[in-house]
Symmetry: C2
Subunit: 207 residues, 2 copies
């Protein structure tokens, strides 16, 4: 048997666990959570469905790990972007870039994280929705702040922040990592589009 099994003296969360998570992620993103079977996940590792239960507790647990990891990372990066300070335009540009870059880099996590929220059982669903609300509110707050300082000329904080969020989320549905544009480039481009949308371009009424 080509198994690498046997006694594993010491390790973190096992490699097998991560392999299963990766396989599940790709399947959840490609064909959806409830359409994915444990047998299919097992296939990706060359093992049977029931064998997965030596490493994980349930299918639902896989989804929870994926979605929680996604929201946690998104919030972490957003905080890191905000902590750098700068004026409102700088900060908004940075959290937009971070938003877009994540949705390109980790397009599967992002896609599943948005699409399968309703597949989460309570209380996880509510918990994740709360995190998402927190994440989204940062955009709205920043747009509002910029508008109060007359740096943005937009009619509604709410709608324009939703527009920025949604165009970033959309990236996770079409981004192709084998294409010619890097996540960083795309993030920079989109961040510029966002500022333009808010009427906040810097090099504008100068000529």
């Amino acid at each position: 048997m080509p198994s690498a099994g046997g006694h594993r003296p010491n390790a973190g969360p096992s490699d097998r666990h991560h392999e299963i998570l990766d396989a599940a992620l790709e399947l959840f993103a490609t064909i959806g959570y409830s359409a994915t079977t444990m047998a299919q996940i097992g296939d990706r590792l060359g093992i049977r469905g029931p064998s997965l239960y030596k490493h994980i507790a349930s299918k639902q647990e896989l989804l929870v790990e994926i979605v929680t990891g996604m929201m946690t990372e998104l919030l972490r990066r957003q905080r890191a972007a905000l902590i750098l300070g700068g004026d409102v335009r700088d900060r908004l540009q940075r959290i937009t870039a971070v938003h877009v870059q994540y949705h390109a880099e980790q397009r599967y996590e992002a896609f599943v994280g948005h699409r399968e929220i309703d597949s989460l059982e309570e209380p996880n669903r509510t918990r994740i929705l709360d995190l998402r609300r927190e994440y989204e509110s940062r955009f709205r707050e920043l747009v509002q702040e910029g508008r109060e300082l007359n740096l943005f000329t937009t009619s509604s904080d709410r709608w324009s922040s939703y527009a920025i969020l949604d165009m970033g989320i959309g990236v996770s549905a079409w981004y192709n990592p084998a294409g010619s544009v890097s996540p960083e480039e795309l993030a920079a481009t989109y961040a510029r589009l966002a500022l333009r949308m808010l009427g906040a371009e810097r090099n504008e009424p100068e000529g």
Copy 2:
């Protein structure tokens, strides 16, 4: 029995069929296609799951009707917007407004139409994806046309047209018809945001 049954002398596609379609639509949008059971759809009409089959062929047929109807209507409205002519900015503004207005007015159809495409069986899936490609290409063509005429100052046709499309699609996920903003208002606002994003604002370098 409170049934309205009996012989129905003459009618188009029966009322019951539409009622079922409506119930299915709301459930597909709320909890997803594969999570929706025929019994749940029946519940909405006060009848049992198997009774639905007196009016419809299958659950899959319901999805096909919803998604086909959505793409057909979207293309119809887009064509109507384009046929009015005008310069590139006019046309782009109009198809963006139409895009957003539909995603607000028919948010359930739109949401299901985007989310459940992979739940369609072939050949319907491919057919719908082709229609969607056609719909999306109109945006890209218009952005390209405007850029060649130096009316838009955007770096990439592809990305900015995706951004416009995605921010419209996003509307179907959060729009609340009981809120204070009408689909028309939202469409007008978003169309303005889109043109701004492209650097195509009219009343700009005039002061």
